[in-house]
Symmetry: C2
Subunit: 232 residues, 2 copies
Amino acid sequence: MSNSKRSYGQFCGVSRALDVVGERWTLLVVRELIMGPRRYKDLADTLSGIGTNLLAARLRDLEAQGLIGRRKLPPPAGSTVYELTAFGRELEPIVFALGRWGRKLLAPELGDQIFNGRWLLFALKANFIAAQARGVREIYELRIGDEATVHAEVRDGNLEVREGPAEEPDLVVDAPLEVLLALTRGETTPAKERKAGRLVQQGSREAFERFWTIFDGAGLPRGASSSAVARA
Amino acid sequence: MSNSKRSYGQFCGVSRALDVVGERWTLLVVRELIMGPRRYKDLADTLSGIGTNLLAARLRDLEAQGLIGRRKLPPPAGSTVYELTAFGRELEPIVFALGRWGRKLLAPELGDQIFNGRWLLFALKANFIAAQARGVREIYELRIGDEATVHAEVRDGNLEVREGPAEEPDLVVDAPLEVLLALTRGETTPAKERKAGRLVQQGSREAFERFWTIFDGAGLPRGASSSAVARA
DNA sequence: CGGAATCCTCTTCGATACTG
DNA sequence: CAGTATCGAAGAGGATTCCG
């Protein structure tokens, strides 16, 4: 029973929002669902450490608040999946912005933190700059060693990301996570990393440069990413 | 000792951000400081229910993370104030967006919730649409019964908000909180409320309409406010 | 096997009291 | 005024068990 519904009791949009999504794990559940519907088990696996009871409670509360819905997949799958409602999806820009802000807090190395390919998809979506993608029609494939392979399809300001390799990528970038991070921070250069054999790149130099620009990479001044969250 | 620093242990910007600002009360402390520097006592008073030890812990952690700084005011005041650092200020758009999203969750009546004029200032800042304010140079004064009086100075896409009455307002709007809310929701009209004596307005009808448009009032379709958080 | 409820321990929160 | 100290209550985390 998580019906205690502790509230800040303040008449303010921020505190009301935090009454609903401010508890531990809640926004991470939302983050997972931004990448598409997921089963209970998927969430429990990815959100390692959440504890099965707490996940159940969060899902129940989110559903009660109208942020997520549960749907039964048609046979033969037949499993239940959770997905964001339209109202829940309105949190997307907020979660994206949190992700961009949190970029600066990422450790330079993976260390003992967990990581998975879907978070890379999320990062691509969160750091996508539509204005930079105008007129571009390319497919970028990203490989983090053998931990993850994803690809992003850019079509004139629109973005679609998927797990797995692309069929006809215009660019393939393959590098360990640490190298990619150092690049986004401007602490190293592609040329240097290529020479050291830590970065393998298939495709034109121009496509590579577009990739970094479109996804708010090293090309932009430090901090430009998080201050770019603005109202239309 | 709040040095346990529980972390989600995920290599993802969102979870890193929540490691830092995801704990209870933390973003509300940030919200308070967005309106300017505040003393410990001010924060403790406004964030009713936080408990003094927890406030101290949050301030300590936020300072350690570089989000806020503490400064000693020059004599004769001599008191210590907390204020956002540049890094902390980068959370502004996120907190604004949370506030806009949370607007839909506000109860129709104040009830037993607490309220203060500074949150009205915050709401004005959060719902300000710069694009709508282009070419406008006006001062709006807002009175919520006798609970709060604030004013907003719009200068061609720029906004400054202050507590208290304005010196030469172009528009004065005086109404109970519930009426103002019903208006923003489109559940009533200014004409109706004026007739019922619940809304007193000094200034031209045009200024009044600009006010609503600039601050994302009833004029916009439902939901337009929260979906308007986008990347530049 | 996916989707939980239960139990138990540990940490955090909230309220009050107390101190420089 | 600006905190620290204390302590009961609530929430989180982990393991195990239960149900379909």
